[in-house]
Amino acid sequence: MNISLSILTNIHDWLFRVMPEGVASIVEMVLIGLAYLGFFAVAGLFLVLMERRVAAWFQLRIGPNRVGYQGLLQTMADALKLLSKELTGTVKADKFLYNLAPYFVIITSLMALAVMPFTQGIQAFDINIGIFFLIAISSIGVIGILLGGWASNNKFALIGAMRSGVQTISYELSIGLSLLTMILITGSLQLSEIVEVQKSGWLIVQGHIPAIIAFMIYMIAGTAETNRAPFDMVEAESELGAGFHTEYSGMKFAYFFLAEFINMFIIAAIATTVFFGAWLSPFGITESLPWLGVFWFLGKTLLLVFLMMWFRWTFPRLRVDQLLTLEWKYLLPINLVNIVIMALIVWLNLTIKF
């Protein structure tokens, strides 16, 4: 029996026993929302710490290791500092949009988290258009960046925001198409069903060559989507200072910062779900213990996150026109051909299944 699922079912049953149905549903929603918020905060802070430690490891440094065990509380302290800081802004900024922008970014990444299949049954929101929902949500995030850059009335921020718009719109295509390639195998957009299909082999194995191509394209486009190096045009420290969040301070800056890391987590989590069997263990070694799925899911995701960090701390940044050339002249045509190949493979039943 799935222990985690049974605990959750018990809580659900108990709520509906002690309360009228409507109230119980609302209470349940609030509880789930709080749980996700908690996860969001912890994951964000952990990923920031992980990035700093990984960066330090690449760069012959030690990284934060003083606050808490091995620096575990470092980012917590940083967040508290940012909370206590004054929120400054430019005088001629468009106040409403300027204040709204960080919430766009953070809310969209929180919403995307809701459909992640952490393990069997632990998924807040299992809609039948899961993948579509994720792609749709992730393209809203860029509005926050555009608004922030536009409204802060700073030319550097504006250049950053415009670059972000161009970049995200372009790479959205690749993300969508590479995921679509995999959907051809699963035949469903629902995340839980995509996982179900992978019980007979992870999709990257089932779809072999086109799946590997799709995975590579997905990781490139995903890195671009999260605006991380080598695609960090938006911030481009050496070119634009801080890019779109130049004029943000305190917790508003922290929202952008946390959202970047959560987005990275989400991109990796989608890759885990679609290519690496989500919470399924390799070769079914822990099939009898479904609650271990959480560890498999997070483990695979963090491995991919590490891959993205590896990109960031090794590669130089592309120039903005090269970035667009890469997408429109290379990734997109490859992707389209790849879809056809995948369709042929699925049609001719050439997928590898165990």
Binding site: A55, F58, Q59, L60, R61, K155, F156, I159, A229, P230, D232, A236, E237, S238, E239, L240, G241, W313, T314, F315, P316, R317, L318, R319, V320, D321, Q322
Partner: protein, 373 residues
């Protein structure tokens, strides 16, 4: 009618943006006034004066020993070579006979300074094109050199090791051993630099064909150093007018014909190898002898004009002294390499993107206090 409305609504115009004086890519207090059309650069106007300290005027007040100390506040990454330039100028004017030992040690430390400067440049170059890790690799190797300098003369950056007449102190007993250790260490690290950055596809795409400076333009802008040599101008002072012990060593002038950012990058990496080879040739053959010849406590140069040029990590550094026979120079002019190199920036960057400007500026290897004295 329709067209005019469209033009009115979608009128585009170039805009100006201040890059600096506080900007990560300008490495100091350089202010570049950019005129940009979208991402494309129309004009680059360097705005100097943020770190002007009137060093040349201060030199007119100071004695010749004191002038040496001012020079390493200019190009602080080639401080020792700058010091050497003033010392050589004064020594030539006084027609002092400098011991061989001093010449060899000056050359060794000069080349180590060049390596140290190029290490820092390499790290910062990577950072400017977005590879943040290079910075720490460059600084790791530079740290060893700084330790050697610290042991030799007590200072890590602004060394002031040279005085008119020789060296302030003799070398530390550990010096030869540690330099040999460094040479052995660094020989394994330059290939690592190549693997991390030079061979990276993105890096090559970012730098090849970017910021091109033709040979004719390089000459007319007075560009020297690795920047000039990357455009095919044979301008290595060490080769054409050897000073100190540089006439005793064999090394080749690193020349490239492309004149683009990647060529400038390659020239500097080649110079690392050449400098290492110079150090290797000299380190075992430091002659015995005095580390300093006595000069008068108050140096008075004979009446006349004196010019001495040396090759710093950035190019030709010249000291022009007009003496009226007193203890201070009547007028003193420094020819700093960075100033001429910066003058070519507008020519190189126009038509490129902002990212190209940053990459181009990184290979100019600007040190702002050198430009803005």
């Amino acid at each position: 009618m329709q067209e005019t409305i469209a033009n009115k609504n979608f009128k585009t115009e170039p805009y100006q943006i201040n890059m600096g004086p506080q900007h990560p890519a300008t490495h100091g207090v350089l202010n570049l006034l950019l005129t940009i059309d979208g991402e494309i650069i129309k004009k680059v106007e360097p705005d100097l004066g943020y770190i002007h300290r009137s060093i040349e005027k201060m030199c007119e007040r100071d004695s010749y020993q004191q002038i040496v100390h001012l020079t390493d506040r200019m190009d602080y990454l080639s401080s020792n070579i700058n010091n050497e330039a003033v010392c050589l100028a004064v020594e030539n004017a006084l027609q002092l006979e400098i011991p061989e030992r001093v010449k060899v040690i000056r050359t060794i430390i000069g080349e180590l300074t060049r390596i140290s400067s190029h290490c820092l440049w390499w790290g910062v170059m990577g950072m400017d094109v977005g590879a943040l890790t290079t910075y720490f690799y460059g600084f790791r190797d530079r740290e060893m050199l700084n330790d050697i300098f610290e042991e030799t003369c007590g200072a890590r950056l602004t060394m002031n090791y040279n005085v008119p007449g020789g060296l302030m102190l003799d070398i530390h007993p550990n010096f030869i051993k540690r330099v040999k250790e460094f040479v052995a260490h660094f020989k394994t690290k330059i290939p690592e630099y190549d693997r991390l950055l030079t061979e990276n596809v993105i890096f090559q795409k970012r730098t090849k064909g970017v910021g091109i400076l033709s040979k004719e333009d390089a000459i007319s802008f007075g560009v020297t150093g690795p920047v000039g040599r990357a455009s095919g101008v044979s301008c290595d002072v060490r080769k054409h007018h050897p000073y100190s012990a540089l006439d005793k060593v064999t090394f080749k002038e690193c020349l490239k014909a492309d004149g683009d950012t990647f060529a400038r990058y390659q020239v500097r990496i080649m110079e690392l190898w050449e400098s290492l080879s110079i150090v290797e040739q000299l380190i075992d053959n430091i002659p015995e002898g005095e580390h300093r010849v006595a000069t008068n406590a108050v140096i008075k140069l004979p009446k006349g004009e004196y010019y001495q040029k040396v090759e710093t990590a950035r190019g030709e550094f010249g000291v022009y002294i007009i003496s009226t026979g007193t203890k201070n120079p009547y007028r003193l002019k420094f020819r700093s390499p960075g100033f001429s190199n910066l003058s070519a920036l507008n020519h190189m960057a126009v038509g490129g993107k902002i990212g190209d400007l940053v990459a181009t500026m990184a290979t100019l290897d600007l040190v702002i206090p050198d430009i803005d004295r």
